[in-house]
Amino acid sequence: MKISKQIGKSVNRLEGHLKVTGAAKYAGEYDVPGLLQGYIVNSTITKGKILEIDESAAHALSGVVAIFSHNNRTKLPWFDIMYADMDAPPGTPFKPFYNDQILYNGQPIALVVAETFETARYAATLIKVTYDEEPFETELAAHLDDARDPKKGIATFIKPLPPSANGDFEKAYNDADVQYAGEFIHGTEHHNPLELFTTTTVYEGDGKLTVYDKTQGTSNCQIYIANVFGLHYKDVRILSPFVGGAFGSGLRPQYQLFLCVMASLELKRNVRVTMDRAQMFTFGHRPQTIQKTRFGATADGTVTAINHTAIAETSQHEDYTEVVVNWANMLYPAKNTLLDYKLVPLDVFSPMDMRAPGGSTGLHAIEATMDALSYILKVDPMELRLLNYAERDVSANKPFSSKELKQCYLQGAEKFGWANRKSEPRTTRRGNRLVGTGMSSGIWDVIALPAKAKASINKKGKLKVKSAVTDIGTGTLTVMTQIAADSLGIHIDDVTFEYGDSNMPLSPIQGGSYTTGVVGSAVKAACESLKKKIFKKAKKMNNSTFNSVALEDVVFEDGSMHLKQDKSNFVTFKEIIADNDGKKIKASKNNIPNVLKLKQYTRAAHSAAFVEVEVDEQLGIVNVTRAVTAVAAGKIINPKTARSQILGGMIWGISKALREETLMDHNLGKYMNTDLGEYHIPVHADIHELDVIFVDEKDDIINELGSKGVGEIGLASMAPAIANAIYHATGKRVNKFPIHFDQLL
């Protein structure tokens, strides 16, 4: 039987029907006997000390089982390192209930555990807390003078600090024929996945726990919980089979996990702790960032000087960093550069990676500056990018492992109809609306990390592959199943991919667009390892026709192994395992990237976005009426799920440019629009025509699959293209996101 290849096919999500029918169970939906419910009490001040927590009224309420705070918490380790998770930035990780100090508004200070959720929530309102308040600072713009260099740590490995200066920027900028300088202001954003952060802890006895958690990393949470509560790793099992969106918010263990496990251990009961929507604003966020650019170019459009600086907020306890300013010189090979990234510690919780962290921030400044230069030069914006196309990454002095950005520009422009564009701003009208078009480049790096997978095949010829990785809604389950099926050459229905369980082989946290490349490569490697074992067994079979054959001479396809030269000489997997007394054949592989090879190249996915906007200038209304994003991201394993990722990124781009913003009252030090009614993300009525193109790109360097990942790249180019289109429509360059009525009237 001929079995078709799965990689490159638009396979429907394997778990799709479970999700749309409600059968998929999320962390807060596991009902276990005697389950208690916890509700968190948060600090209402921004900085200071807890003087007293009066719990009497809450305790008096029928159904309240226990109330925890720093006063009666479990004994906790002293050393910061025990609280550091895989994604911890340099500094001191936040330790819930550690002492009476308040570090930020919304800090968890107590947990009410009760028989029902409503009892716990009501009891929480009866707790009276007395504080000693101290002055605090939360506004980045007011503290730019305090900016300092970030501390270095393990995180710097994945998020390098800016490259050092090249040439003589100031001279080159002053000598440039044309110049543009801009200031770009980005506010705070919160991830707001639909699923609330929830943990259900099943107390198994003897210090053993089974924990259903909303997370992007089961192994990460396992290590964290074991370290913090002094448990054996093998006694802590973290399960996260379905994740209702995360976007980076689940990269670190959140405090409800800590509180839920602590309550469960103390009470020796099964406990669930669920955050409410307002509490979703009391941990990581995309940081406020203020950027400045100065670009200079020759009259013929060659960019000669690039200065890009960013100042971002962080917390007082950790130095969270993003890659904001490293991109410009990767995209445009100017010889004179000055790049700088600094932090201002404020009295807020540590910021956290949020979809395309740093990239979506930095690219706005870079691509709006390039756009502005194109109008000064009277060169088409795309033409200016092509004039300054980097065939090599001059910022690192390395070749690209592959780069089909030029094709993104050309194919995207063709599909969009860019050629028909009038170059002057304010030249097209539709009724009482101005129409404008804009474009932007996008870039996102390709990260390689170790990961492990196990593969086994049974007597029915069914392949099972396992990894601790989660599926945060991106299609990981489907994609891994496709990769495994093709590796062994069996039907996709004969493959099961098991995941989302810390008992399974170690996987890095799921983020940075690297999961397909990293875990997919581990899955492939485990299958390759399994093939070797199958081959060995086949050779040992009675009357084996493969005795004198090498592994290179056989092909695994159609559920069997056959000679490359002679398809008729084959043996099926079922026959091999039958000969193995029906025993499964198993293999395991820890896939470690070849760092020496990788570091010779700059590895990045690219994109180009083309956007049309309509602006009702009198009323300040903006609509993104049409957009095309062309993406070069190496091998696309599943075009359907990949397209969904890019569409999601594009919609997020609309959100970032026009909608989304967490508002803080700096007098109170508090986020105020903490619900989905007032935290505006786009609705259906905001979304019009969106189109995605995947450009062919072959990459033999990055990983075994040649796949670069598509989680962030769709967002990276979209928001700047919208800002540029608004300029083309109106002649107004608004450099503060989100762009609102107020700025366009």
Binding site: D616, R659, M672, V683, D686, H688
Partner: protein, 339 residues
């Protein structure tokens, strides 16, 4: 959420008796706002009197004066899609459909719509000072996040806005609110139903504690020929108005014989300026005349920093909406995707 007693009633007197004997009792109809407030620890009813069984108040029917009576318990959806509302009061239909989401409109009652509370961030956060929620505690909005706040009719104590869309159309239509109490029945003109904050910002309206809204009557004039509702907000659906305008007018020989203009999103109640409406009578429906009226309506408007833009935006919205009212066809779904 505190524990509470739930009682379902099937006749109005029973409902009124239950509420007048218990000052911690609340009526519940659609519950789309009360349940939110409760979860946020802003409302704490001890007794819920469920009035959804009062079938007499669900009807939408023509009255004896050539108008239309909207039962207080008819849902917003049933009202917006009612044939007589669509035909005779399309302004109301359009305003209702500009608000909330389909799910909320399916649950929300007409009476409840009148009573929804402000969406001021500070009001909604139980730990922030707020004179409306906790009189005397202060108003952080005045020097804080006031982009969504009022520019007209504000007081020292409160700059909150009333969030309804439906009520802006009802104000323009000069509806009358019918209420019932143990003492009898009374009618409240729409312009007298909601209040300005003054020094009692805790009061949103003039409904007394023992009163129940039974319905809303619309006069015979529905402006079915020339009307428009324009809502400006931070996204194209499911967001409260930064500025909204309801316009209904009657034209004869290209002269305005009657016009009503009501604004939402800019004050503690639907905002109308009768003098501006009178100014437009017997005038041509020109941009210039509408702009003069807009200036009259916004007279005395005062921003608090982040909401200063609302003054100019309101003027432009009034002019645009009055122009759109001249050609209601321009408001067909799809014709104005950006509004």
């Amino acid at each position: 959420m505190n524990n509470f007693t739930y009682q379902k009633v099937s006749n109005p007197n029973d409902a009124l008796n239950k509420i007048s004997k218990n000052n911690a009792a609340n009526f519940i109809a659609g519950g789309t706002n009360l349940i939110d407030l409760w979860k946020y620890n802003l409302a704490h009813p001890k007794t819920l009197v469920d009035i959804n069984g009062l079938n007499d108040y669900k009807a939408i029917k023509e009255d004896d004066h050539g108008g239309l009576f909207l039962g207080a318990l008819a849902t917003n959806s049933d009202t917006a899609y009612h044939k007589l509302v669509e035909e005779r009061y399309p302004l109301l239909s359009k305003a209702i459909l500009a608000g909330a989401s389909a799910q909320i409109r399916n649950s929300a009652s007409n009476g409840g719509n009148l009573l929804q509370r402000t969406r001021c961030y500070y009001f909604y956060d139980a730990s922030s000072p707020c004179n409306k929620r906790n009189p005397g505690s202060g108003c952080p909005a005045k020097n804080g996040l006031n982009r969504i706040h009022a520019i007209l009719g504000t007081s020292e104590d409160c700059i909150a806005v009333f969030p309804s869309d439906m009520c802006i159309a009802l104000a323009a239509l000069e509806a009358v609110v019918h209420v019932k109490s143990p003492d009898g029945e009374r009618e409240i003109e729409f312009s007298n139903f909601h209040r300005l904050p003054g020094d009692t910002p805790e009061l949103d309206n003039n409904l007394k504690e023992n009163e129940l809204i039974t319905g809303i009557s619309l006069p015979s004039e529905g402006f079915a020929e020339n009307y428009s509702y324009l809502k400006l907000r931070d996204r194209n659906s499911y967001a409260f108005a930064l500025v909204s305008v309801a316009t209904g007018m009657v034209l004869e020989n290209n002269k305005i014989t009657k016009i009503r203009i009501a604004l939402g999103g800019i004050a503690h109640k639907p905002w109308r300026v009768v003098a501006a409406e009178e100014f437009l009578v017997d005038k041509s429906p020109t941009e210039e005349n509408f702009a003069s009226a807009a200036n009259m309506i916004l007279k005395g408007a005062k921003g608090f920093g982040k909401n200063d833009f609302k003054i100019e935006l309101s003027k432009r919205a009034i002019v645009r909406n009055c122009i759109m009212a001249l050609d209601p066809e321009s408001q067909r779904p799809g014709a104005q995707p950006s509004l």
